[in-house]
């Protein structure tokens, strides 16, 4: 399958297979008016399969979201057909307004105005915990 290359925009590469739609939702890419292509299960030498997202415009990305999904994701910035910057990600120390606490006893379940926030509590396990109730996040 062929998808046109990006002349000016962003290519989010090395997304774990099956994770592209989650990224699409978390980055609110549905709000963009430019072309957005999602490639699922593309061939990858490293991983066997990967997903790719191509965005036909240079926008500001929330890199914490991408780092949270997988710090091995790469972000390629393209200008006039040339790769101008390749960003490597890290696991973010905090995540604000990205994921929601699922503990029914947490204050975030009843206070509407609270922005859900998490802190990285175990780097090895990539574990995040709610800053309010300390409950570990599970998908």
């Amino acid at each position: 399958m062929n998808v046109d290359g990006v002349s000016t925009g962003i290519v989010i590469d090395h997304i774990p297979a099956g994770k592209s739609m989650e990224i699409y939702r978390l980055l609110h890419l549905e709000k963009l008016t430019c072309s957005v292509a999602i490639v699922q299960n593309a061939q990858s030498r490293k991983r066997g399969k990967k997903d790719i997202i191509k965005i036909d415009e240079n926008i500001t990305l929330n890199l914490d979201v991408l780092g949270f999904i997988d710090p091995d994701i790469t972000v390629n910035m393209i200008q006039d057909g040339q790769l101008t910057k390749k960003k490597h990600l890290e696991l973010p120390e905090t995540l604000t307004g990205v994921i929601r606490c699922k503990n029914p006893r947490c204050i975030t379940t009843v206070e509407q105005e609270i922005v859900h926030a998490f802190k990285l509590t175990d780097r090895e396990k990539r574990q995040y915990s709610c800053i309010y109730c300390d409950t570990a996040y599970t998908e």
Partner: protein, 309 residues
């Protein structure tokens, strides 16, 4: 001055906790020195959930410091009953009080409160999460009764899964050297994984057992909690296990002469009344220590530990 809060026991360093315990000891020895220290100051006690000891000990503490108290003792008697958020309640009360002690059934409510006001917030219990002033109370009682907080074998008995006081006490005692932990509970009510992780990470000696009789002779401290019927998946398990977690004089026979028995209270039947007369029973002394450590805490958070010139 930076606003300090007490949301979790780890908000204070060991040195700060030690200073607070020294201050509590000085208050016990010289109460007259402190009886007007908080004159003109107001403590708000916002208890969205019922409490006897925690709320009354906060109020008694502020009164003995010469300050005043306002607040409510259930969410039914506040605007929370009309659906007001914690955030709005705190923004309002922050206009009336110099310091706020609160209890709320939702976990994390005191942290939200601390983000919404510039007056110090004290967590008086948030769901099954933290209860740091109980831990300060426990530490002061242990310090006074044992003369130290290190090199102790601490037995914690009963519902160790949901008992927030147990979790906080383990976290606090782990910070002192050479303490050993024996966790006595039915398999269904063992400490949660994060507490086991903390114990492993600290590299301390600890074990889990099912019956207090197995370890009674080893303990310096026996911290009792209630095993509640509703925590069990089936009635048969509860009936099978409940008597194992009731302390009586017979079970105390092999215990050390200088053991201390603690309980955060309220007690239902997990400590027989006959134990109350044993000199090793310290749970009512513990309730008294609760008032003094809360006096020390109020002074610390208001930055009034030293007399004004």
């Amino acid at each position: 001055m930076e606003i300090r809060n007490l949301i979790s026991i780890t908000d204070f360093s060991i040195e700060e906790i030690d200073r607070m315990m020294d201050l509590a000891e000085d208050i016990i020895q010289n109460p007259e020195t402190y009886q007007h220290r908080c004159a003109g100051k107001k403590l708000a006690t916002l208890f969205f959930e019922p409490s006897t000891r925690t709320r009354l000990s906060f109020e008694a503490a502020m009164m003995e410091l010469g300050g005043n108290v306002l607040g409510f003792s259930s969410s039914d008697s506040s605007s929370a009953a009309k659906g007001e958020s914690v955030s709005d309640t705190i923004r309002t009360v922050g206009c009336y009080a110099d310091i706020i002690a609160m209890r709320h059934p939702k976990e994390g409510a005191p942290l939200i409160a601390a983000q919404r006001t510039t007056v110090p917030i004290i967590n008086g219990g948030d769901g099954g999460h933290h209860h740091p002033t109980q831990t300060l109370t426990d530490l002061l009682t242990i310090k006074r009764e044992k003369g130290r907080l290190d090199h102790l074998t601490v037995g914690l008995c009963g519902d160790l899964q949901f008992g927030r006081t147990v979790h906080s006490l383990i976290e606090a005692m782990l910070r002192y050297p050479e303490n050993r932990f024996i966790l006595i509970s039915p398999e269904e009510l063992r400490v949660p994984a994060y507490i086991r992780d903390l114990l492993w990470a600290a590299g301390v000696e600890w074990k889990q057992v099912e019956h207090m009789e197995q370890v009674m002779d080893q303990l310096d401290i026996l911290y009792m909690t209630r095993v509640q019927r509703e925590r069990f998946f089936n009635e048969q398990d509860y009936i099978r296990l409940k008597d194992s977690y009731i302390l009586d004089m017979n079970k105390l026979k092999p215990a050390k002469k200088d053991l201390i028995i603690l309980h955060p209270l309220p007690r239902v039947n997990e400590i027989s009344i006959e134990v109350d007369d044993d000199p090793r029973a310290c749970y009512f002394t513990q309730a008294l220590c609760g008032k003094y450590i809360r006096m020390a805490l109020i002074l610390t958070l208001l930055d009034m530990t030293k007399e004004a010139n």
